[in-house]
Symmetry: C2
Subunit: 135 residues, 2 copies
């Protein structure tokens, strides 16, 4: 019940969310997604994908699992260009809009992917990420 908190707390919460969001977007724009995970993610990060990973799961828990998933993706995709727009904050969460132009190295298929990432911040770290993507 955010509206029951004191105004100062709400403002501090917003500032923290916005600051983490700006750092994430800046790093993603430079392709430094792994650095973003290392620096901005909490150890207990929970990650929810829109589409299943190769092992069939959509959920990952813990910094190592999330990092491994990203390493896998970058190893299997040749990324031609990315767009990262945001952050768009609300309370302790912020959204980011991603577009990727990338080729699957295995299939050779090149496509444009659109995605919205929704991030939850707690004590200055990202504790949850959820992805929404076109089917």
């Amino acid at each position: 019940m955010q509206h029951l908190r004191g105004g100062g707390d709400v403002m501090a919460l917003k500032e923290e969310t916005l600051e983490v969001g700006k750092k994430l977007v800046a790093l993603c724009k430079e392709g430094k997604n792994l650095e973003a995970i290392d620096n901005l993610y909490a150890d207990e990060i929970e990650s929810f994908e829109a589409m299943a990973m190769p092992d069939g799961s959509t959920e990952s828990k813990g910094k190592k699992a999330v990092r491994d998933k990203n390493v896998w993706w970058f190893e299997h995709m040749k990324v031609h260009s990315t767009q990262s727009e945001g952050p768009y904050p609300n309370g302790d969460r912020f959204a980011v809009r991603f577009k990727y132009d990338a080729t699957d190295k295995d299939s050779g298929k090149r496509e444009t992917m659109e995605e919205v990432g929704l991030y939850t911040v707690k004590n200055g770290k990202i504790v949850r990420e959820e992805f929404f993507a076109s089917a």
Copy 2:
């Protein structure tokens, strides 16, 4: 715990979410936001804005309150163009990316606004909308 459901249920859920999302985006693209509320929103809709409305609140409950908020917005803004991209589904939720080029009729200030809307679908109707916007 979506991963504990049967596969058929998960697929049906995704289809329903996607279908409602496509209808919402199509109506928003035509500027028929009120028609989207009338047809796609549940009576018990809960709405959470990123920025406070004129009365200072960020939350609205019930179809009438949400509709009134939209009527107010369209009365106070001259909309030059809008972009609605998506839907980007995941489970029972979908995201939409909005961009508005609009002028505040009172102040005469024209600006581009970017926003991500996150919608929750239940029994074929939108029961929750949450907005994320640049500060």
